[in-house]
């Protein structure tokens, strides 16, 4: 038992963090919302970080590096689909899409995508128009498939593997965002004085911070575990991956709410970082499926593949 990331991955995460901060951190996300073409800057930065060589399917070390890159991207609400971009099929980035249409965050950033539906069908697809440009989906685009989606009975096992990786890496992105949210709330309540003392002097505030921090710590364990399972038991990892995704969505709901609340009214303002984090994370929480539908998928996956990754289930024979 040694549940820690390889040293190289940790160092790579630190490098990525510095790189993202060098372009302004969350400020870059604000810039991208005002001017979506500024995402080109992010793209260049990721290339210099070596994103093109981070396919997590290659080996455990690249998988760990891809995961921490996604985590760091989440911390700054990076305006870029990192999980999709490291997972290439025939040179195309991957996106998991909802059952009824092809919708992808930052779908306009690439000429074409390899899109996978929950039922196993897949295709090449391209953005059909501009992004939604809404407050909760500033960069979300609709895509059109080049040809009919490959039918289920021709589903490619490689797509199943892609799906697992995509879900895991997007879980790491959410983890990064939530970790940052707790940091922001901690810093804010430490600085903010009401009733003559910093808010962190009030026990309720401490309880709220502690609960949020524990939730994120738990999610981190699950994210690490999913990464390990994809390495050692890729064929049986689906329930572990969906458990990560499902839990990430549940924890996100709680942590974002608690940390935004701790900011008071300022937490709703775009000049305050938590507001950008909450808004820009929404597509990751709704695409390809939200918390409730994901939990239903998890039920099915457990029925099919069990859940005894850590603890043997079943009666003694």
């Amino acid at each position: 038992m040694n549940p820690v990331l390889p040293r190289d991955a940790v160092e790579f995460g630190e490098t990525a963090r510095m790189a993202f901060e060098s372009v302004g951190g969350i400020q870059a996300a604000r810039r991208a919302e005002a001017d979506p073409t500024s995402r080109a800057e992010v793209s260049g930065l990721l290339t210099s970080l070596g994103i093109d060589d981070l396919d997590p399917r290659a080996e455990a070390d690249t998988a760990a590096a891809a995961a921490v890159l996604c985590e760091e991207a989440g911390r700054v609400a990076l305006s870029y689909p990192v999980a999709g971009a490291v997972l290439r099929t025939g040179g195309l980035p991957t996106a998991l899409v909802p059952p009824h249409h092809l919708r992808v965050d930052h779908g306009d950033l690439f000429e074409a995508w390899h899109v996978c539906r929950p039922d196993g069908r897949a295709s090449t697809a391209r953005a059909t128009g501009p992004a939604l440009g809404t407050r909760l989906g500033p960069f979300v685009c609709d895509l059109d498939a080049d040809d009919d989606l490959r039918p289920v009975d021709h589903a490619d096992p490689a797509d199943a593997e892609l799906r697992n990786w995509w879900l895991t890496l997007s879980g790491w992105t959410i983890l990064g965002a939530l970790d940052r949210a707790v940091e922001l709330a901690t810093a804010h309540t430490r600085d903010r004085v009401q009733f003559g003392k910093p808010l962190t002097e009030f026990q309720t505030v401490r309880f709220q911070l502690a609960d949020a921090a524990i939730a994120v710590a738990g999610l981190r364990e699950l994210a690490l575990f999913a990464l390990w399972r994809l390495d050692v038991a890729p064929d049986r990892a689906r329930p572990d991956v969906l458990a990560l995704r499902s839990h990430a969505l549940d924890v996100a709901r709680f942590v974002l709410r608690a940390t935004q609340q701790l900011h008071g009214a300022s937490g709703l303002c775009d000049e305050v970082d938590i507001s950008i984090l909450v808004r820009h994370l929404q597509p990751a929480l709704r695409l390809p499926a939200g918390a409730e539908d994901t939990a239903i998928e998890l039920v099915a996956a457990i029925a099919a593949d069990g859940f005894d990754g850590l603890f043997p289930h079943g009666r003694v024979a």
């Binding site: 909802p98 919708r103 939604l132 809404t134 407050r135 909760l136 989906g137 979300v140 004085v193 009401q194 009733f195 003559g196 309720t204 709901r253 709410r257 935004q260 609340q261 008071g264 009214a265 937490g267 709703l268 303002c269 775009d270 000049e271 507001s275 909450v278 808004r279 929404q282 597509p283 709704r286 695409l287 390809p288 499926a289 939200g290 918390a291 409730e292 539908d293 939990a295 239903i296």
Partner: protein, 382 residues
């Protein structure tokens, strides 16, 4: 025992729905948008309600009201909030500014301010919060200094909703050497007075909701003081208690839950079982919130200290708002990311979600309401 609001209230509800159906566009999401036509819609609608005698249903007849019951008033609040508040920012004048002027104002202030509110022709805003005085409102530092027979007001307000639209502000300032609750004084200040600057704040709620108001030696006359000099805290408490029950958020929750189910049915589908279970639970929560709000209305009508009941209702209602917002998003899936007329229920669900995130902060945070309820449990004075 009887939970029926009565025939008059039911008839009033039907009449309001007919008026809204006729006058308010189907994709109306409130006055606080980038489209000035939305504010105009609310201005027209207020004038119409005033002509129909519906704007000040529960105000006493002597102030231009219809002398209706608190249940009539409740029905008005519910129908208005359920339909995205077609009175726009004027609800504030009707809900608590008018009643506060009735309770604390001089005859001259009543003569001057109540008729425009009752006619639906004036927008008020609430200048309480300051950068360093949020939950701790008694820390407010905006200062009024005597100047001739009037005052000069200097300081800064923040989060002031609709300040850019308002003609008047009920402003909390500090007079004399007193600290905390002592010395707080309410002023009725025209927003076009020299020295006032309004700066909008960008937020996830959309435009107009939040603003900064800078007061640079704003001159006001002796007649600007509402109530006693130094007696502002009583006005604030009363105003906030009214405000906390004044917004019937549960009504919009229930309407959206029911409309979404209708829409699915029309499309020949229904909620999958796992969401159907939550939908039924949410409806029940909404009912609980509604009943607690009714309890607060009864407490206010009985004239008792309104704080604890108002806060209990506010806690239930704002939690409901967030619960329902998230459930509706789960039902919509990725369509929840869309906004505007083409989105689900003409954008009402997306709008509701964003606004619901603010519910547990506006009018005093959830935690502040919990403190008020706890104090009441412990038998301590507020």
């Amino acid at each position: 025992m009887d939970f029926d609001l009565g025939e008059e209230a039911a008839a009033l509800r039907a009449r309001l729905r007919t008026l809204i159906e006729a006058e308010i566009p189907g994709d109306f999401l409130g006055a606080f948008t980038d489209d000035p036509a939305d504010l105009e819609t609310t201005q027209r609608f207020c004038a119409l309600l005033a002509r129909e005698g519906l704007l000040t249903v529960a105000w006493p007849a002597e102030y231009g009201g219809a002398g209706g019951s608190v249940w009539d008033q409740t029905v008005v609040r519910e129908e208005m909030w359920a339909h995205h508040e077609p009175r726009g920012p004027q609800y504030m004048g009707l809900n608590w500014v008018g009643p506060a002027i009735m309770a604390f104002g001089t005859d001259e202030q009543k003569r001057r301010h109540l008729p425009p509110i009752a006619e639906g022709s004036v927008i008020w805003c609430q200048g309480f919060s300051e950068p360093d005085a949020g939950s701790d409102l008694a820390a407010l530092a905006t200062r009024a200094t005597p100047d001739g027979d009037g005052w000069r007001i200097r300081g800064q307000k923040i989060w002031t909703s609709y300040a850019g639209m308002a003609r008047w502000c009920v402003l909390a300032g500090r007079v004399g050497p007193g600290e905390r609750h002592e010395g707080i004084t309410m002023f009725l200040v025209p927003m076009d007075a020299p020295g006032i600057t309004v700066v909008p704040i960008d937020s996830m709620l959309g435009p107009h909701h939040l603003n900064e108001v800078f007061l640079d030696d704003v001159p006001v006359g002796p007649d600007a003081v509402l109530g006693e000099v130094g007696g502002g805290w009583a006005v604030i408490r009363r105003a906030l208690a009214h405000e906390r029950v004044g917004i019937a958020r549960y009504a919009r929750c229930e309407r959206l839950l029911s409309l979404l189910a209708d829409e699915l049915r029309d499309a020949g589908t229904q909620l999958p079982e796992h969401l159907g279970v939550q939908w039924a639970r949410a409806l029940t929560q909404v009912r609980v919130a509604r009943l607690l709000a009714y309890r607060a209305v009864l407490a206010q009508e009985a004239g008792g200290p309104p704080d604890a009941a108002a806060s209990a209702a506010r806690i239930a209602v704002t939690r409901c708002d967030q619960l329902v917002a998230e459930l509706l998003f789960q039902v919509l899936g990725d369509r929840s990311l869309e906004a505007g007329p083409g989105a689900a229920l003409a954008g009402a669900i997306e709008d509701h979600w964003r606004y619901a995130q603010a519910a547990t902060v506006a009018s005093g945070t959830l935690e502040v309401q919990q403190m008020i309820v706890a104090k009441d449990l412990l038998g301590r004075p507020g």
